[in-house]
Amino acid sequence: MNVTMNVNGKPYTRDVEPRTLLVHFLREDLLLTGTHVGCDTSQCGACTVHVDGEAVKSCTVLAVQADGMDVTTIEGIGTPGDLHPLQTGFWEKHGLQCGYCTPGMIMASAELLKHNPSPSEQEIRYHLEGNYCRCTGYHNIVKAVQHAAEIMAQGGQAGGQAADD
């Protein structure tokens, strides 16, 4: 069946099997492989994307459920020349090692910062409870999110710094 959605600001229509998960639609139909799959029980958060502005585990949503919606993935949140403050934060604070959990971590953290621009350490840890990282022990992920919050407090915007200039 046909699904149509805006992904990272671009409209796409594809014919998919009804059982296709959003994450597989993104990875296999749109070749947006930045969104990862780490489990089959909705527990690792590697697949986190934004659907109509909310962080969602895209392995837990059917592509057809996102029909007509706006989806943002890690590829749409910033570019190498124009990083999102969270991307800068993860880079500056060594918030990643293998990088596999990172897109999900960044997308989940983006939602936090949207609602809570200066979260405490405990609020960050609590908010990221749905995202596994096996490499970093979370220490630098907390620092990365704090760093991003500082950048944003100083005027760096979520959603692409230069893009909004």
Binding site: G34, D40, T79, Q87, F90, H94, P103, L128, R134, V142
Partner: protein, 798 residues
């Protein structure tokens, strides 16, 4: 632009942010499952639901008509193709190694063993058909635990391993140990279980193979920590492919922790399927498959005994271990509970006598092999738990008891009674720094204050030493390794002065693409932006042995250093020639080659690189080009060490353990990049704390995995862990050109013991509990407190 900007800063030691990160933070990494080849098919595994079963008929026709199904492969197809058993890479004397076919032919030996494979047009269709395939199983008696597997009349896993014992191994002098016990003032004895762990790198394993009939060439993308080892095993032992016709690429890999070292069944299957189908074939594990097919870790049942004299000086340490190997032996499996474990059971102490006996036992469980630390966390746990028990028995402070038994700085190089020669060490400063950093006396005072309340405090101080960068090759060969343990590096300078480094080492999170160029930028005195590292592709690199055992910096980094020295030696000759000076009069400083005393007469690295390639004016007889390869075989292992401290708070009403603080002082020699080093320590601590507090690859006694998804296997999440306090001492290794040791595993090697000892410190102080096995779940701790209080009778009820 051409050439190199001049630079004066030093890169080694700087906390540079990583060069590889832009692709990961923008979602443009390239992991195996991201790769799509034209015409690609997908494979799904049919895995045994039984721990042990005879495979009767497999009815291929039951699925061949299903949509998209291209083929069904069974053990018979593997046998018909003449494909060999997956080999064991480390042989012990009289080791029994049962056959390990890529697809089980007659018998499945653990839940998850592959019995058939469906290849189809897409993954969903392959999985649909795999779930429908008719397989006749005849369940056989099975056994999961090592102790049960060696009992009289236990089910036999493999007929050619009678009694399920794959090896008996020992090290050290049993008589000397007995003499120590005969002379003892005090002895303690512990029974310890080091539970089964499941590595769980967040990227599931994946493989994608392609075959080109016209040339006979194979291409395999796979999630490997060591692509050359994969190629060697596949070519020489399993598939009988000429080695040069197989290219193995391990692209971005989402964590390994040991679990991606081994040659797995699925890689063999993908290569065969690609050849038979004439199309590329991909398989990506689901997490639920990973739980029953990734090699698992630990699983020891151990008895330890320690003897001390009346001054509290250690006399002897005795260890007896049953190591559960699971259903097959994989690449390093026999080495992990022997040479990587028994040899480390001396710890940081001046122990006159140590004896370690290990029995390797086959069971109907997923195979056990190297998992982060591989043998060394088990050794640290065995010795450091026992040391705490002894400190309690003597009524001594655990930190001071350790201190007075430390090997002293002047004792290095130190020959232990269990074969190793520790290269360098200075254990007391790390201990003192850790005690100061964590405010140890205050913690003990706080513990006293909290005593008797419903929140009790536990504090641990453990000191560890580990051995990494296994070497030299001749020695590991004598010990049974079927591989060399050197590393190679190629440095290629282009005419524009830009540089590519190639290493046989592999990064799957360790930051090689930053740390290796840091080493090179200093040696070549050019900006780090002009240098990139290439790794993970047998088609592009010289030979190598990959990344495991914290060997990348010490062995791979050293190989790079040697290759770089060859480059600068040649560059200096060219520069001298261009400056019309003698080589002795030329110095390489501040990014230029210049005549001593005449600083305005100089040549840049770019000038030299260009001339090396133009070859218009080179010294007589010199070959053009500027490229060097080094093969570096270390003289010894390296021995990082340090002190770790954990602080836990236990709620005695619920049994819940809260890891409140964690601090450590590690010594890995000079730090190439402190940011990366600290990241490695953080992650290591989390994994070890995970073992101590939550993780358990629990099986029932027949071998059904009870913790088979993230719903039952509890890994630490962000809100389970504190911020860590980290510091370092620096004691260089005397025998490699960088002085570096390893840091990839130290955190894990130390932290399970540190967190365990903190929990037991609380329980011992509060209710005299001497030992409890990991993981310290709320239920287990609550029960232990309740039972001990019941045992104490009246007083506890007041």
């Amino acid at each position: 632009m051409t050439g190199n900007e001049s630079r004066t800063d030093k890169y080694f030691g700087q906390a540079l942010k990583r060069k590889e990160d832009p692709r990961f933070i923008t979602g443009t990494g390239n992991y195996t499952d991201d790769i799509v080849l034209p015409g690609m098919l997908h494979a799904a595994m049919v895995r045994s639901p039984y721990p042990h079963a005879k495979i009767g008929g497999i009815n291929k026709e039951s699925v061949t008509g299903m949509p998209g199904v291209v083929a069904v492969l069974t053990g018979q197809d593997i046998a018909d193709a003449g494909i060999g058993s997956i080999p064991v890479g480390w042989l012990l004397p009289e080791l029994k190694t049962p056959a390990h076919p890529a697809i089980a032919l007659t018998e499945a030996n653990h839940v998850g063993d592959i019995v058939a494979v469906v290849v189809a047009e897409n993954r969903a269709l392959a999985e649909d058909a795999a779930s429908m395939l008719e397989v006749d199983y005849e369940p056989l008696p099975s056994v999961a635990f090592a102790g049960a597997a060696i009992a009289e009349g236990a089910p036999v896993v493999h007929d050619d391993v009678p009694g399920n014992v794959a090896f008996n191994w020992e090290i050290g002098d049993a008589t000397a140990v007995q003499e120590g016990f005969n002379a003892a003032y005090k002895t303690v004895k512990l029974k310890l279980t080091n539970q089964r762990l499941i590595p769980n790198a967040i990227e599931p394993r994946a493989s994608l193979a392609q075959f080109t009939p016209a040339s006979g060439e194979y291409l395999l993308y796979t999630t490997s920590q060591n692509p050359h080892i994969h190629r060697l095993i596949l070519a020489a032992f399993v598939m009988n492919i000429p080695e040069h016709k197989l290219r193995v690429i391990s692209p971005d890999v989402g964590g390994g922790f040991g679990s991606k070292i081994f040659q797995y069944q699925e890689e063999v299957i993908m290569l065969l399927a690609a050849r038979l189908m004439g199309r590329p074939v991909k398989w990506t594990a689901r997490r639920s498959e990973a739980f029953v097919s990734d090699m698992q870790g630990r699983d020891h049942e151990t008895e330890t005994e320690m003897a001390v004299d009346k001054d509290g000086k250690m006399l002897a340490f005795r260890v007896n271990t049953l190591a559960n190997l699971g259903a097959y032996q994989t690449l390093f499996a026999p080495a992990v509970p022997t040479y990587l474990y028994g040899t480390l059971c001396n710890g940081v102490y001046k122990l006159p006598a140590v004896h370690v006996k290990v029995q390797g036992v086959m069971t109907n469980t997923v195979p056990v092999d190297a998992y982060r630390g591989a043998g060394r966390p088990e050794a640290t746990y065995a010795i450091e738990r026992t040391v705490d028990a002894m400190a309690h028995a003597l009524g001594e402070d655990p930190a001071e008891f350790r201190r007075k038994n430390f090997i002293q700085p002047e004792d290095f190089p130190y020959q232990t009674p269990v074969a190793l020669v520790y290269d360098s060490g200075n254990y007391e400063p790390a201990l003192d720094m850790a005690l100061g950093m964590m405010k140890y006396p205050e913690l003990r005072a706080e513990q006293e204050r909290m005593k008797g309340s419903n929140k009790i405090l536990g504090v641990s101080v453990i000191s560890y030493v580990e051995a990494c960068g296994l070497a030299p090759s001749a020695l590991v060969g004598q010990l049974g390794a079927q591989a060399g343990q050197w590393e190679s590096s190629l440095v290629r300078v282009y005419p524009t002065g830009k540089v590519e480094l190639f290493t046989g080492s592999h990064s799957h999170g360790q930051g090689h693409e930053t740390a290796f160029p840091q080493i090179a930028a200093d040696e070549l005195q050019i900006p780090i932006e002009d240098i990139d590292l290439v790794h993970g592709d047998t088609g592009r690199m010289p030979y190598g042995w990959g990344t495991y055992g914290s060997r990348s910096a010490a062995v791979g980094g050293s190989a790079l250093k040697v290759a770089l020295q060859k480059i600068t030696a040649k560059a200096k000759k060219i520069a001298a020639h261009l400056l019309e000076a003698s080589e002795e009069d030329v110095e390489h400083e501040n990014g230029v080659f210049r005549i001593k005393g005449a600083p305005d007469q100089s040549k840049t690295f770019f000038d030299v690189a260009l001339m090396a390639h133009l070859a218009h004016s080179l010294p007589d007889g010199m070959e053009p080009g500027l490229e060097a390869t080094a093969f570096y075989d270390p003289k010894n292992f390296v021995y990082p060490f340090g002190t770790h401290m954990a602080v836990v708070e236990i709620d005695t009403d619920t049994g819940k353990v809260d890891l409140r603080n964690y601090g450590c002082v590690d010594d890995c020699g000079p730090l190439i990049n402190p940011l990366i080093v600290e990241g490695q320590v953080h992650g290591g601590i989390a994994q070890g704390a995970g073992q101590a507090l939550w993780e358990e690859g629990a099986y029932d006694e027949e071998g059904n995995l009870l913790a088979a998804s993230y719903m039952e296997y509890t890994m630490p999440r962000a809100d389970d862990l504190p911020m860590y306090q980290i510091d370092h001492t620096v004691t260089p290794s005397p025998h490699n050109p960088l002085g570096v040791k390893g840091i990839g595993e130290s955190g894990t090697i130390a932290s399970s013991a540190a967190v365990a000892n903190a929990v037991l410190d609380a329980l011992w102080h509060e209710c005299g509990i001497e030992h409890l096995d990991m993981p310290y779940t709320a239920e287990k701790v609550w029960k232990a407190i309740r039972d001990s209080r019941a045992g104490m009778g009246q007083a506890a009820d007041d």
